[in-house]
């Protein structure tokens, strides 16, 4: 771990001398090769939600979790690479909100910039919180703390501070290049840490066949049972899945979130920028095997007596309380008094988030265990750094330069970017501590972000492909889409939940079989309302002159010929390859 931290900061130091202008700092001087951007593109998204969350979902929902990849991410990544990147990269916008200003108007950009900036801060805070919590649970820092004579409760604070300092160091020094380079490093580390885990786990359970023999068929088939919400573990029917997750949510994330788009915009040429998401899609496609499989293996194993490494306290409680134990390697959730949390039926509530950490501790001996844990921490840090770099760019270009301090020198904005990084991380720390105090506030905020994000893709789609779309329409569409999401969530409730943060706070008119189904349908509603309102308002407002829209709208942008490129560098060819492979994977795990 020490070696890793040294390298991480070393890259920042090594790159510092290249950071001469704000473009170097925020856009990496637009000079990065496509494969590097591609790996950074997925690594930035590979934060806490990804590794821990996907492992947890793998344990909970089985291979159906792969829908997040093979129906969700991959088609969206192909779309952004082939169709949308020309506008982002070609319009010379420096950020996604700036594209909105060029295409629409100032207010649409302001809305997007402010909501996006707030969101990145909270995501990075949540990442930090989750990491510190995990370090605490796994007792990683206990030995050094004891040596220093500090109480064990300092573990949480230490993790927050150390991770903040490491990320701060490399982002402030090297800006986006440094973040991207580190993300690539983190990508390889994550693969290096998890590949042997999957190998050992599979060997232990007897391969894919062994998993199939251990678990109900619903765990090992991703499409069978998708006909109705009652017959699959996700509790969603195929339409909600394909439209909600596959179309609205995934396209909304991969095509409009500056966090990922920023990586592609750093590429050295238009065709490299377009190839970025397509190259990223290839490793992304096999990620389910790295993160979902360990979760599946964890449930497929016979129940274990508590894993020694989870600490003395956990071991004691599980051996004393015999009745509600966990399942496979997944322990029951323990509340503050040390008792397992029970649901309404008296069954233990399982702590799925520990699936991957427990797998690591179960299979890895000293030595490679350090590598595995480093990989885990690397994934948290890459998520954090991704958010922080996206934040400093949007803050500096779209909020500071646009509204607070116009026409300053480039050096001033470079300085501001560094300051924004410091403030961004400070705010993230505050958010991490807020999460320890008010867990509900975090849930609430994530809900609000979901409302804000859901309609975004409709705006971009119309903006890029329909030249008639106007700024007023985009703004009205976004607001009404967000409102529609909130109203839909307020009127429905997932089964088994009480009205409140989970929904139904207005009245309950419809019950969904699962929270996931509710989320997907909220997104579908938000998108549709935004789409309709944007079209209607566009028709009654005055469109912009076509000459102003060149390079921003599909029909008014000259197509670049890709003929001179070898076939494996042409985005369209790559896109077809990627989609075909995703289709094959879907069929194999049908």
């Amino acid at each position: 771990m020490g070696v890793y931290a040294l390298f991480v900061v070393g890259i920042g130091v090594g790159l510092k001398r290249y950071m001469k202008t704000s473009t170097d700092f925020f856009l990496a001087g637009r000079s990065i090769p496509a494969w590097v951007c591609g790996l950074a593109f997925i690594s930035a998204n590979l934060g806490a939600q990804e590794v821990i969350g996907m492992g947890a979902s793998g344990a909970k929902y089985g291979i159906a979790t792969s829908h997040f990849y093979w129906i969700g991410a991959i088609p969206a990544m192909a779309f952004v690479g082939i169709f949308m990147m020309p506008f982002y990269y070609g319009s010379r916008a420096r950020s996604v909100p700036e594209y909105l200003r060029l295409r629409f108007d100032e207010k649409t950009r302001g809305l997007n910039a402010i909501s996006f900036a707030t969101m990145t801060i909270f995501s990075s805070g949540i990442s930090m919180y989750a990491m510190a919590k995990l370090i605490q649970t796994l007792h990683i820092l206990d030995a050094p703390l004891q040596n220093l004579g500090l109480p064990l409760s300092a573990s949480f604070h230490c993790s927050v501070v150390i991770s903040a300092i490491v990320v701060l160091a490399y982002v402030v020094l090297g800006g986006l290049v440094s973040a991207i380079y580190n993300e690539v490093l983190q990508f390889f580390l994550i693969v290096a840490g998890f590949l042997p885990l999957v190998f050992l786990g599979l060997k232990d359970v007897g391969g894919w066949g062994g998993i199939k023999a251990q678990l109900a068929p619903a765990y090992t088939h991703s499409w069978q049972g998708m006909g109705s919400a009652q017959t699959n573990l996700l509790g969603v029917e195929w339409f909600g899945l394909v439209m909600g997750l596959g179309f609205v949510l995934s396209f909304g994330y991969w095509c409009t979130d500056f966090l990922v788009v920023q990586r592609a915009m750093a590429a050295h040429s238009m065709s490299a920028a377009r190839r970025t998401p397509l190259i990223a899609a290839l490793p992304k496609m096999v990620f389910p095997f790295l993160v979902i499989l360990p979760g599946l293996i964890a449930v497929a194993l016979p129940a274990q007596p508590a894993v020694p490494f989870t600490g003395p306290r956990a071991a004691r409680t599980t051996s004393r309380e015999v009745v509600p134990t966990g399942r496979g390697l997944i322990p029951a959730k323990i509340d503050q008094t040390g008792n397992p949390v029970l649901d309404a039926n008296g069954n233990a509530v399982l702590d799925y988030d520990l699936a991957i950490p427990n797998m690591l501790v179960h299979y890895f001996p000293t030595g490679i265990l350090g590598l595995g844990l480093t990989a885990l921490l690397a994934s948290f840090m890459s998520g954090m750094a991704g958010n922080v770099t996206a934040f400093n760019t949007v803050w500096t270009y779209d909020i500071y330069q646009a509204y607070l301090h116009k026409d300053a020198s480039d050096q001033h904005y470079l300085w501001m970017g560094r300051m924004a990084t410091v403030f961004g991380i400070a705010l993230s720390i505050a958010a991490a501590y807020a999460a320890t105090r008010f867990n509900n506030i975090m849930d609430f905020l994530q809900l609000v972000f979901a409302f804000v994000n859901a309609p975004l893709f409709a705006t971009f789609l119309l903006g890029m492909f329909w030249k008639r779309t106007t700024g007023h329409a985009a703004f009205a569409g976004l607001l009404s889409g967000t409102a529609a999401a909130a109203i839909h969530q307020g009127l429905t409730l997932p089964g088994g939940a009480a009205p409140g943060i989970k929904g139904g706070w207005l009245a309950t008119v419809h019950l969904y079989p699962s929270e996931m189904a509710q989320n997907f349908w909220t997104a579908i509603w938000a998108w549709s309302v935004c789409f309709l309102v944007t079209v209607l308002v566009s028709l009654i407002t005055r469109p912009r002159k076509e000459s102003e829209l060149a390079g921003l709208v599909y029909s008014l942008t000259p197509r670049n010929s890709e003929r001179h490129l070898p076939w494996y560098k042409r985005p369209a060819v790559l896109g077809v390859v990627v989609l075909t492979l995703a289709l094959i994977l879907n069929i194999i795990f049908w």
Binding site: V3, Y4, F7, G10, I11, G14, L15, R17, Y18, A28, G29, S31, I32, V36, V177, Y181, V184, L185, F188, L189, A192, P196, L200, K203, D204, H362, Y363, F364, P365, T366, G367, I368, L371
Partner: protein, 84 residues
């Protein structure tokens, strides 16, 4: 950009691979019960080391082809990457 990403990646993995494989050689065999009797430290350490060396070699070649730096061709692994 002045720094080829493959160099730091290669160096990091070479160092990690060496550490891991070295630990695998000298460690007590008892700890490998967890990993189904396989000495994963040694095996994976060697794989990481190979990967690291490949990255360093490619990184070096990549940066010598470009005109901006005339690196002596004899420097394969260590000295060229020593200054990341």
């Amino acid at each position: 950009m002045g720094l080829d990403i493959r160099l730091p990646i290669g160096l990091l993995f070479s160092v990690l691979g060496l550490l891991l494989a070295g630990f695998g050689v000298f460690s007590d065999k008892g700890i490998y019960q967890r990993s189904l009797g396989l000495n994963v430290n040694l095996a994976w350490g060697v794989i990481l080391l190979i990967f690291g060396i490949i990255m360093v070699v490619f990184g070096n070649r990549g940066s010598t082809i470009r005109p901006h730096e005339q690196d002596s061709a004899g420097n394969r692994g260590r000295s060229a990457g020593g200054k990341p």
